[in-house]
Protein backbone atom coordinates (compact mmCIF):
# COMPACT_ATOMS: atom_id res chain seq x y z
CA UNK A 1 0.00 0.00 0.00
CA UNK A 2 2.37 2.67 -1.18
CA UNK A 3 0.12 5.00 -3.11
CA UNK A 4 -3.44 6.22 -3.26
CA UNK A 5 -5.82 4.39 -5.53
CA UNK A 6 -8.28 7.06 -6.56
CA UNK A 7 -7.75 6.21 -10.22
CA UNK A 8 -8.51 2.54 -9.71
CA UNK A 9 -11.71 3.37 -7.86
CA UNK A 10 -13.08 5.01 -10.98
CA UNK A 11 -12.19 2.18 -13.38
CA UNK A 12 -15.50 0.58 -14.30
CA UNK A 13 -15.66 -3.08 -13.33
CA UNK A 14 -12.68 -2.97 -10.97
CA UNK A 15 -13.23 -4.45 -7.52
CA UNK A 16 -12.85 -1.03 -5.92
CA UNK A 17 -15.40 0.53 -8.24
CA UNK A 18 -17.72 -2.29 -7.28
CA UNK A 19 -17.16 -1.66 -3.57
CA UNK A 20 -17.65 2.05 -4.11
CA UNK A 21 -21.01 1.44 -5.78
CA UNK A 22 -21.99 -1.03 -3.09
CA UNK A 23 -21.35 1.48 -0.30
CA UNK A 24 -23.22 4.23 -2.15
CA UNK A 25 -26.18 1.90 -2.65
CA UNK A 26 -26.15 0.89 1.01
CA UNK A 27 -26.03 4.48 2.19
CA UNK A 28 -28.93 5.59 0.00
CA UNK A 29 -30.91 2.53 1.09
CA UNK A 30 -30.35 3.21 4.80
CA UNK A 31 -31.12 6.92 4.37
CA UNK A 32 -34.33 6.20 2.47
CA UNK A 33 -35.39 3.70 5.11
CA UNK A 34 -34.86 6.31 7.82
CA UNK A 35 -32.06 4.37 9.56
CA UNK A 36 -29.23 6.86 9.16
CA UNK A 37 -28.94 10.61 8.84
CA UNK A 38 -26.37 11.62 6.18
CA UNK A 39 -25.40 14.71 8.19
CA UNK A 40 -24.49 12.44 11.11
CA UNK A 41 -22.24 10.42 8.79
CA UNK A 42 -20.44 13.64 7.79
CA UNK A 43 -20.00 14.55 11.46
CA UNK A 44 -18.54 11.12 12.32
CA UNK A 45 -16.09 11.33 9.40
CA UNK A 46 -15.08 14.87 10.30
CA UNK A 47 -14.38 13.84 13.90
CA UNK A 48 -11.88 11.15 12.92
CA UNK A 49 -10.34 13.05 10.00
CA UNK A 50 -9.80 16.41 11.67
CA UNK A 51 -10.33 16.26 15.45
CA UNK A 52 -9.07 12.94 16.78
CA UNK A 53 -5.60 11.65 15.95
CA UNK A 54 -2.11 10.85 17.25
CA UNK A 55 -1.46 14.50 18.15
CA UNK A 56 -3.75 13.85 21.13
CA UNK A 57 -1.58 11.00 22.36
CA UNK A 58 1.57 13.03 21.74
CA UNK A 59 0.25 15.72 24.09
CA UNK A 60 -0.37 13.08 26.76
CA UNK A 61 3.19 11.76 26.39
CA UNK A 62 4.77 15.22 26.45
CA UNK A 63 2.80 16.13 29.57
CA UNK A 64 4.00 12.94 31.26
CA UNK A 65 7.60 13.79 30.35
CA UNK A 66 7.50 17.27 31.90
CA UNK A 67 5.09 16.74 34.81
CA UNK A 68 6.05 13.91 37.23
CA UNK A 69 2.72 14.15 39.08
CA UNK A 70 0.82 13.71 35.80
CA UNK A 71 3.10 10.82 34.85
CA UNK A 72 2.27 9.12 38.16
CA UNK A 73 -1.46 9.66 37.61
CA UNK A 74 -1.17 8.37 34.03
CA UNK A 75 0.52 5.16 35.12
CA UNK A 76 -1.93 4.66 38.02
CA UNK A 77 -5.18 5.47 36.17
CA UNK A 78 -4.63 6.27 32.51
CA UNK A 79 -8.32 6.79 31.72
CA UNK A 80 -8.66 9.58 34.29
CA UNK A 81 -5.29 11.18 33.50
CA UNK A 82 -5.96 11.23 29.75
CA UNK A 83 -9.42 12.71 30.40
CA UNK A 84 -7.69 15.65 32.12
CA UNK A 85 -6.57 16.65 28.62
CA UNK A 86 -10.08 16.16 27.27
CA UNK A 87 -9.53 12.84 25.46
CA UNK A 88 -12.06 10.10 26.17
CA UNK A 89 -14.86 8.02 24.77
CA UNK A 90 -15.31 5.57 21.95
CA UNK A 91 -12.58 2.90 21.86
CA UNK A 92 -10.77 4.55 24.75
CA UNK A 93 -13.26 3.94 27.55
CA UNK A 94 -10.68 2.08 29.67
CA UNK A 95 -7.07 3.07 29.06
CA UNK A 96 -3.77 1.67 30.30
CA UNK A 97 -0.42 3.44 29.90
CA UNK A 98 2.63 1.21 29.43
CA UNK A 99 5.93 2.78 30.37
CA UNK A 100 8.99 2.00 28.26
CA UNK A 101 12.28 2.03 30.16
CA UNK A 102 15.88 1.09 29.30
CA UNK A 103 15.00 -2.45 30.45
CA UNK A 104 11.38 -2.88 29.26
CA UNK A 105 9.94 -2.30 25.79
CA UNK A 106 6.16 -2.51 25.29
CA UNK A 107 4.47 -3.26 21.97
CA UNK A 108 0.70 -3.22 21.29
CA UNK A 109 -1.24 -5.39 18.84
CA UNK A 110 -4.72 -6.80 18.36
CA UNK A 111 -4.37 -10.29 16.90
CA UNK A 112 -8.14 -10.98 16.73
CA UNK A 113 -9.32 -7.77 15.03
CA UNK A 114 -7.74 -4.32 15.10
CA UNK A 115 -8.51 -2.78 18.51
CA UNK A 116 -6.73 0.55 18.91
CA UNK A 117 -7.05 3.53 21.29
CA UNK A 118 -8.99 5.93 19.07
CA UNK A 119 -9.26 8.98 21.40
CA UNK A 120 -5.47 9.28 21.69
CA UNK A 121 -4.22 7.81 18.39
CA UNK A 122 -7.14 8.22 15.99
CA UNK A 123 -8.01 5.42 13.57
CA UNK A 124 -5.30 2.79 13.06
CA UNK A 125 -2.94 2.74 10.06
CA UNK A 126 -3.33 0.00 7.46
CA UNK A 127 -0.23 -1.91 8.62
CA UNK A 128 -1.59 -2.20 12.18
CA UNK A 129 -4.77 -3.80 10.81
CA UNK A 130 -2.91 -6.06 8.39
CA UNK A 131 -2.42 -9.82 8.65
CA UNK A 132 1.40 -9.56 8.64
CA UNK A 133 1.46 -7.40 11.80
CA UNK A 134 -1.39 -9.15 13.59
CA UNK A 135 0.13 -12.59 13.00
CA UNK A 136 3.77 -11.84 13.80
CA UNK A 137 3.74 -9.28 16.62
CA UNK A 138 3.06 -11.91 19.29
CA UNK A 139 5.30 -14.62 17.81
CA UNK A 140 8.31 -12.59 16.72
CA UNK A 141 8.15 -9.11 18.25
CA UNK A 142 11.89 -8.57 17.93
CA UNK A 143 11.73 -9.39 14.23
CA UNK A 144 8.81 -6.99 13.79
CA UNK A 145 10.70 -4.28 15.69
CA UNK A 146 13.77 -4.85 13.53
CA UNK A 147 11.58 -4.27 10.45
CA UNK A 148 10.60 -0.95 11.98
CA UNK A 149 14.26 -0.13 12.59
CA UNK A 150 14.34 -0.85 16.32
CA UNK A 151 17.09 -3.20 17.51
CA UNK A 152 16.83 -4.24 21.17
CA UNK A 153 19.52 -5.92 23.24
CA UNK A 154 19.08 -9.22 25.08
CA UNK A 155 18.98 -7.27 28.36
CA UNK A 156 15.72 -5.58 27.30
CA UNK A 157 12.47 -7.38 28.08
CA UNK A 158 9.89 -7.17 25.31
CA UNK A 159 6.28 -7.13 26.47
CA UNK A 160 3.62 -7.59 23.79
CA UNK A 161 0.08 -6.54 24.73
CA UNK A 162 -2.64 -8.34 22.76
CA UNK A 163 -5.76 -6.13 22.91
CA UNK A 164 -8.28 -8.95 23.36
CA UNK A 165 -10.64 -6.92 25.60
CA UNK A 166 -11.95 -3.34 25.69
CA UNK A 167 -8.85 -2.21 27.59
CA UNK A 168 -6.86 0.07 25.29
CA UNK A 169 -3.11 0.46 25.56
CA UNK A 170 -0.95 3.54 25.04
CA UNK A 171 2.82 3.16 25.16
CA UNK A 172 4.63 5.90 27.05
CA UNK A 173 7.92 6.02 25.13
CA UNK A 174 11.24 7.00 26.70
CA UNK A 175 12.07 10.67 26.56
CA UNK A 176 15.14 11.01 24.35
CA UNK A 177 18.38 12.44 25.69
CA UNK A 178 19.20 15.98 24.72
CA UNK A 179 15.66 17.28 25.12
CA UNK A 180 16.05 18.63 28.65
CA UNK A 181 15.45 22.26 27.75
CA UNK A 182 12.52 21.68 25.40
CA UNK A 183 9.01 22.94 26.06
CA UNK A 184 6.07 20.57 26.44
CA UNK A 185 4.74 21.73 23.08
CA UNK A 186 8.07 21.13 21.31
CA UNK A 187 8.36 17.71 22.94
CA UNK A 188 4.90 16.76 21.69
CA UNK A 189 6.14 17.46 18.16
CA UNK A 190 8.78 14.73 18.58
CA UNK A 191 6.32 12.03 19.62
CA UNK A 192 5.26 9.81 16.72
CA UNK A 193 2.22 7.59 16.42
CA UNK A 194 4.48 4.56 16.00
CA UNK A 195 6.30 5.28 19.28
CA UNK A 196 2.96 5.16 21.10
CA UNK A 197 2.13 1.77 19.54
CA UNK A 198 5.60 0.60 20.56
CA UNK A 199 7.10 -0.09 17.13
CA UNK A 200 9.43 2.92 17.28
CA UNK A 201 11.47 4.94 19.73
CA UNK A 202 11.27 8.69 19.94
CA UNK A 203 14.37 10.17 18.38
CA UNK A 204 15.94 13.44 19.53
CA UNK A 205 15.42 16.43 17.27
CA UNK A 206 17.73 16.53 14.27
CA UNK A 207 20.32 19.29 14.35
CA UNK A 208 18.65 22.43 13.11
CA UNK A 209 15.44 21.87 15.05
CA UNK A 210 12.49 19.48 15.14
CA UNK A 211 11.70 17.70 11.90
Amino acid sequence: MSDHHHDHASEPGSPLAETDLRVRALESLLVEKGLVDPAALDAVIDTYETKVGPRNGARVVARAWVDPAFRARLLADATAAIAELGYMGRQGEDMVALENTPKVHNLVVCTLCSCYPWPVLGLPPVWYKSAPYRSRAVLDPRGVLREFGVELGDDVEVRVWDSTSEMRYLVLPERPAGTEGMSEEALAQLVTRDSMIGVAKVTPPARGGPR
Partner: protein, 218 residues
Protein backbone atom coordinates in the same frame (compact mmCIF):
# COMPACT_ATOMS: atom_id res chain seq x y z
CA UNK B 1 -14.61 -19.84 16.52
CA UNK B 2 -11.35 -21.11 15.10
CA UNK B 3 -11.43 -18.57 12.27
CA UNK B 4 -8.71 -17.08 10.15
CA UNK B 5 -9.24 -13.82 12.07
CA UNK B 6 -7.45 -15.48 15.02
CA UNK B 7 -4.06 -15.02 13.39
CA UNK B 8 -1.65 -14.56 16.28
CA UNK B 9 1.38 -16.76 15.60
CA UNK B 10 0.68 -17.56 11.95
CA UNK B 11 3.43 -17.53 9.33
CA UNK B 12 3.42 -16.60 5.67
CA UNK B 13 1.41 -13.37 5.76
CA UNK B 14 4.27 -11.43 4.15
CA UNK B 15 6.15 -8.27 5.08
CA UNK B 16 4.58 -5.41 7.05
CA UNK B 17 3.90 -2.73 4.44
CA UNK B 18 4.00 0.81 5.75
CA UNK B 19 2.92 3.99 4.03
CA UNK B 20 4.52 7.37 4.62
CA UNK B 21 2.06 10.16 5.41
CA UNK B 22 -0.84 7.75 5.31
CA UNK B 23 -4.26 9.43 5.07
CA UNK B 24 -6.98 8.49 7.57
CA UNK B 25 -9.05 7.11 4.68
CA UNK B 26 -7.83 6.09 1.21
CA UNK B 27 -11.16 6.35 -0.62
CA UNK B 28 -14.47 8.12 -0.22
CA UNK B 29 -16.23 4.76 0.17
CA UNK B 30 -14.02 3.99 3.20
CA UNK B 31 -15.23 7.19 4.87
CA UNK B 32 -18.85 6.27 4.19
CA UNK B 33 -18.49 2.58 5.17
CA UNK B 34 -16.86 3.61 8.47
CA UNK B 35 -19.50 6.20 9.30
CA UNK B 36 -22.38 3.95 8.21
CA UNK B 37 -21.12 1.26 10.58
CA UNK B 38 -20.87 3.73 13.45
CA UNK B 39 -24.30 5.23 12.78
CA UNK B 40 -25.99 1.85 12.27
CA UNK B 41 -24.42 0.59 15.51
CA UNK B 42 -26.18 3.45 17.29
CA UNK B 43 -29.54 1.94 16.30
CA UNK B 44 -28.99 -0.42 19.24
CA UNK B 45 -29.87 -3.55 17.30
CA UNK B 46 -26.51 -5.22 18.04
CA UNK B 47 -23.54 -4.75 20.33
CA UNK B 48 -19.84 -4.36 19.50
CA UNK B 49 -19.15 -8.04 20.22
CA UNK B 50 -21.84 -9.07 17.73
CA UNK B 51 -20.28 -6.68 15.20
CA UNK B 52 -16.85 -8.30 15.68
CA UNK B 53 -18.40 -11.74 15.35
CA UNK B 54 -20.14 -10.72 12.11
CA UNK B 55 -16.71 -9.84 10.64
CA UNK B 56 -15.20 -13.09 11.91
CA UNK B 57 -17.88 -15.02 10.04
CA UNK B 58 -16.73 -13.67 6.67
CA UNK B 59 -15.55 -16.80 4.79
CA UNK B 60 -11.78 -17.22 5.33
CA UNK B 61 -10.60 -16.68 1.74
CA UNK B 62 -12.68 -13.54 1.47
CA UNK B 63 -11.62 -12.31 4.91
CA UNK B 64 -7.95 -12.49 3.94
CA UNK B 65 -8.57 -10.83 0.57
CA UNK B 66 -10.59 -7.96 2.04
CA UNK B 67 -9.29 -4.65 3.34
CA UNK B 68 -10.32 -3.46 6.80
CA UNK B 69 -13.25 -1.36 5.63
CA UNK B 70 -14.38 -4.03 3.19
CA UNK B 71 -14.66 -6.32 6.22
CA UNK B 72 -16.64 -3.62 8.02
CA UNK B 73 -18.98 -3.33 5.03
CA UNK B 74 -19.52 -7.09 4.82
CA UNK B 75 -20.12 -7.28 8.57
CA UNK B 76 -22.59 -4.40 8.46
CA UNK B 77 -24.56 -5.96 5.61
CA UNK B 78 -24.73 -9.24 7.57
CA UNK B 79 -25.99 -7.51 10.74
CA UNK B 80 -28.57 -5.40 8.92
CA UNK B 81 -29.97 -8.46 7.16
CA UNK B 82 -29.91 -10.69 10.24
CA UNK B 83 -31.80 -8.10 12.30
CA UNK B 84 -34.33 -7.65 9.50
CA UNK B 85 -33.53 -3.94 9.14
CA UNK B 86 -32.97 -4.51 5.44
CA UNK B 87 -33.67 -7.56 3.33
CA UNK B 88 -31.11 -9.33 1.15
CA UNK B 89 -33.29 -8.28 -1.77
CA UNK B 90 -33.00 -4.62 -0.77
CA UNK B 91 -29.22 -4.99 -0.46
CA UNK B 92 -29.00 -6.43 -3.96
CA UNK B 93 -31.35 -3.98 -5.67
CA UNK B 94 -30.57 -0.94 -3.51
CA UNK B 95 -34.30 -0.15 -3.56
CA UNK B 96 -36.15 0.17 -0.27
CA UNK B 97 -39.39 -1.73 0.30
CA UNK B 98 -40.83 0.59 2.90
CA UNK B 99 -39.27 2.44 5.80
CA UNK B 100 -38.02 0.88 9.01
CA UNK B 101 -39.10 2.11 12.42
CA UNK B 102 -35.84 2.28 14.31
CA UNK B 103 -35.80 2.98 18.03
CA UNK B 104 -33.13 5.65 17.73
CA UNK B 105 -31.25 7.27 14.87
CA UNK B 106 -27.93 9.06 15.31
CA UNK B 107 -28.36 12.78 14.67
CA UNK B 108 -25.51 15.04 13.57
CA UNK B 109 -25.98 17.24 16.62
CA UNK B 110 -25.48 14.22 18.91
CA UNK B 111 -22.34 12.83 17.27
CA UNK B 112 -19.82 14.70 19.43
CA UNK B 113 -21.53 13.78 22.69
CA UNK B 114 -22.08 10.14 21.70
CA UNK B 115 -18.44 9.62 20.68
CA UNK B 116 -17.14 11.26 23.87
CA UNK B 117 -19.44 9.09 25.97
CA UNK B 118 -18.35 5.90 24.23
CA UNK B 119 -19.78 2.50 25.06
CA UNK B 120 -18.22 1.36 28.30
CA UNK B 121 -17.84 -2.42 28.75
CA UNK B 122 -17.02 -1.98 32.45
CA UNK B 123 -19.93 -2.98 34.69
CA UNK B 124 -20.97 -1.80 38.17
CA UNK B 125 -21.93 -5.31 39.32
CA UNK B 126 -20.07 -6.53 42.39
CA UNK B 127 -18.77 -9.91 41.34
CA UNK B 128 -16.04 -11.58 43.39
CA UNK B 129 -12.81 -12.21 41.45
CA UNK B 130 -11.70 -15.82 41.05
CA UNK B 131 -8.05 -14.77 40.81
CA UNK B 132 -5.72 -12.10 42.13
CA UNK B 133 -2.49 -10.66 40.77
CA UNK B 134 0.33 -13.18 41.14
CA UNK B 135 -1.93 -16.22 40.80
CA UNK B 136 -0.74 -18.92 38.43
CA UNK B 137 -3.41 -19.78 35.87
CA UNK B 138 -3.91 -21.89 32.77
CA UNK B 139 -6.01 -20.71 29.84
CA UNK B 140 -8.69 -23.24 29.06
CA UNK B 141 -8.30 -25.51 26.08
CA UNK B 142 -11.63 -24.82 24.40
CA UNK B 143 -12.78 -24.59 20.79
CA UNK B 144 -16.16 -22.85 20.85
CA UNK B 145 -17.94 -22.52 17.50
CA UNK B 146 -19.14 -19.05 18.53
CA UNK B 147 -17.27 -15.85 19.37
CA UNK B 148 -14.38 -15.94 21.82
CA UNK B 149 -11.67 -13.50 22.84
CA UNK B 150 -9.38 -16.30 23.96
CA UNK B 151 -6.90 -16.61 21.09
CA UNK B 152 -5.83 -20.07 19.98
CA UNK B 153 -2.15 -19.42 20.70
CA UNK B 154 -2.90 -18.97 24.43
CA UNK B 155 -5.20 -21.98 24.93
CA UNK B 156 -3.81 -24.58 27.29
CA UNK B 157 -0.89 -22.29 28.17
CA UNK B 158 0.21 -21.35 31.68
CA UNK B 159 0.51 -17.75 32.76
CA UNK B 160 0.42 -15.44 35.76
CA UNK B 161 -2.29 -12.90 36.54
CA UNK B 162 -0.55 -9.53 36.21
CA UNK B 163 -3.49 -7.28 37.08
CA UNK B 164 -7.21 -7.37 37.79
CA UNK B 165 -8.99 -4.79 35.61
CA UNK B 166 -12.34 -5.14 37.36
CA UNK B 167 -15.76 -6.38 36.23
CA UNK B 168 -16.55 -6.29 32.50
CA UNK B 169 -19.00 -7.62 29.95
CA UNK B 170 -17.96 -11.13 28.85
CA UNK B 171 -17.83 -10.85 25.03
CA UNK B 172 -17.99 -14.60 24.40
CA UNK B 173 -21.56 -14.56 25.78
CA UNK B 174 -22.50 -11.03 24.71
CA UNK B 175 -21.71 -11.67 21.02
CA UNK B 176 -24.02 -14.66 21.00
CA UNK B 177 -27.00 -12.84 22.53
CA UNK B 178 -26.49 -14.58 25.88
CA UNK B 179 -26.30 -11.48 28.04
CA UNK B 180 -23.40 -9.65 29.65
CA UNK B 181 -22.34 -12.36 32.10
CA UNK B 182 -20.44 -9.87 34.32
CA UNK B 183 -17.06 -11.15 35.53
CA UNK B 184 -13.51 -10.03 36.24
CA UNK B 185 -11.11 -9.26 33.43
CA UNK B 186 -7.40 -9.76 33.95
CA UNK B 187 -4.16 -8.95 32.21
CA UNK B 188 -2.45 -12.34 32.10
CA UNK B 189 1.26 -12.62 31.45
CA UNK B 190 2.48 -15.56 29.38
CA UNK B 191 6.20 -16.15 28.99
CA UNK B 192 7.16 -16.11 25.31
CA UNK B 193 8.79 -19.54 25.78
CA UNK B 194 5.57 -20.98 27.24
CA UNK B 195 3.72 -19.85 24.11
CA UNK B 196 6.30 -20.45 21.40
CA UNK B 197 8.90 -22.85 22.77
CA UNK B 198 12.64 -22.68 23.37
CA UNK B 199 13.43 -20.51 20.33
CA UNK B 200 11.63 -17.54 21.88
CA UNK B 201 13.62 -14.90 23.74
CA UNK B 202 13.92 -15.99 27.40
CA UNK B 203 12.76 -12.82 29.15
CA UNK B 204 10.01 -11.76 26.73
CA UNK B 205 6.30 -12.10 27.42
CA UNK B 206 2.87 -11.65 25.86
CA UNK B 207 0.05 -10.14 27.91
CA UNK B 208 -3.45 -11.27 26.99
CA UNK B 209 -6.67 -9.83 28.46
CA UNK B 210 -8.73 -12.79 29.67
CA UNK B 211 -11.87 -13.24 31.75
CA UNK B 212 -12.67 -15.55 34.67
CA UNK B 213 -14.45 -17.98 32.33
CA UNK B 214 -11.26 -18.37 30.25
CA UNK B 215 -9.06 -19.39 33.17
CA UNK B 216 -8.42 -22.26 35.55
CA UNK B 217 -6.02 -22.30 38.49
CA UNK B 218 -2.66 -23.79 37.54
Amino acid sequence: MNGVHDMGGMHGMGPIEREEHEPVFHHEWERRAFALTMAAGFLGEWNIDMARHARERIPPARYLASSYYEKWLLGLETLLAERGLVTRDELVTGRPRGRSSPGRVLKASDVGRVLLKGGPARLPERVPPRFKPGDRVVAKNVNPVGHTRLPRYARGKRGVVDRDYGVFIFPDAHAMGLGKKPQHLYGVRFAARELWGPDASPGDAVYVDLWDDHLDPA
